[in-house]
Subunit: 246 residues, 2 copies
């Protein structure tokens, strides 16, 4: 349950190299020159394995580094004082986790692995110095933070003014789009999260998520077998999101 900063028994003999990583076009190094990439390689020197259910960090933990998802799948969760929880995002390969920690030097959410995963550790102090040196890195980092803000505003729109079907349709389209950018099929996906986690993210109860999946299936938009989803009619999903279907 507690985070292990240096996994004791696991030898990370592999030197992690951004320059050799197949995610470099999606991750922090986008657009860097070869020189700059080599400096990144120095900074991002540790990879950490996280088992399903384990957390990279918890709310309240001191902030020291960002984490880039190398393989696997994560959720971030904020908690209210009364125990209510809200999933604020799902992160897949190439995405950055931990930006929340910069503001107060402590993390404000939990980052939990939804399957066995690996993350690359990016010591924050070093990122700041390196991005003073490399304009492109600096700009790319700012873009990533800004993108998170824009994404959050989209979620607010979803939570504030969409109905259950619209929320789930938007969620599925977003997931497939990101999976597609990583070379996966646009029409078949395996959900890494439970109905309850989807519900938490979308501001719905798990029963409503389940019913909505069933409804989409009845309508021939999806084929749903537990966590295996096949999208039969993407355009129909798009229409649902736009409210053009009710």
């Amino acid at each position: 349950m507690t985070q292990e900063t240096a996994p004791p028994s696991r030898l990370e003999a592999l030197k992690v190299a951004c320059s050799a990583c197949n995610l470099r076009e999606l991750c922090l190094p986008v657009g860097l020159t070869d020189d700059e990439m080599l400096s990144l390689d120095d900074m991002v020197s540790t990879r950490r394995s996280v088992k399903r259910g384990e957390s990279i960090f918890h709310a309240g933990d001191p902030f020291a580094a960002l984490y880039a998802v190398r393989t696997g799948f994560f959720k971030t969760v904020v908690s209210a004082s009364d125990g209510r929880e809200q999933v604020t995002g799902f992160q897949m390969a190439g995405e950055l986790i931990g930006l929340d920690g910069i503001s107060t030097d402590r993390h404000s959410c939990d980052a939990v692995a939804l399957e066995d995963s690996q993350v690359c550790m990016i010591p924050y102090g070093q990122l700041e110095s390196l991005s003073r040196e490399f304009t492109l890195l600096q700009h790319q980092f700012h873009k990533i933070m800004s993108r998170e803000i824009v994404r959050d505003h989209g979620v607010m729109l979803l939570l504030g003014s969409m109905r259950a079907e619209e929320r789930l349709a938007a969620f599925l389209l977003n997931l497939t789009q990101r999976l597609q950018a990583r070379g996966f099929s646009a029409s078949a996906l395996v959900l890494r999260m439970t109905r309850e986690e989807i519900g938490s993210y979308l501001g719905l109860k798990l029963e409503t998520v389940s019913r909505t999946f069933s409804k989409f299936q009845e309508e021939g938009i999806l084929e749903v077998k537990q966590r295996d989803i096949r999208i039969i009619e993407q355009s129909a999903l798009q229409r649902v999101v736009n409210g053009t279907s009710a």
Copy 2:
């Protein structure tokens, strides 16, 4: 209720000095040395007046600068393709507007003045170069972006799992806390936005916002006269937020 630090009887849109601004402890310059502050003064050289109802920028506009609220009050609004709108935030003196634009070089929301206001323009390219030079400025800027992310996550929690009374109570407590940080009373405030705008922000209809205000008044928690709000029992509001009152 509007604060005017230096009543601008002349055209003062010329020279702005962060170093002389009473908001410098809340705004971008937090923690800078005198030297650094002077460089900021060079960068933030234009102030712009915005009349009530006007926008600093619209969704789709090219991104070139950030704006620090000098006086007045703003809302930011994102729109879906079908016309649905969501207020994503309300900004007051010392707060930064426009961070959304970095991600795609275009703004993704509208920033609308809710009263006659003034903003300081911070050319983004210059901010990037200056923050390559000044570590503290760089860090402060990152903190501001991160804070926005954390705030957004809090709004998601609110939208995803709180009921109407809890949302409004949380909203009022947040407003008064920010006003208090600016030297205003913690118990009396004048709302700069309509019930509809509050509702949009909180994911509620204006009638629900109005009814909830009335309910708080009946319960002796607030005194509500249109946009004049007096908080009679702050602890009760806090209890409502925590769900300890239902």
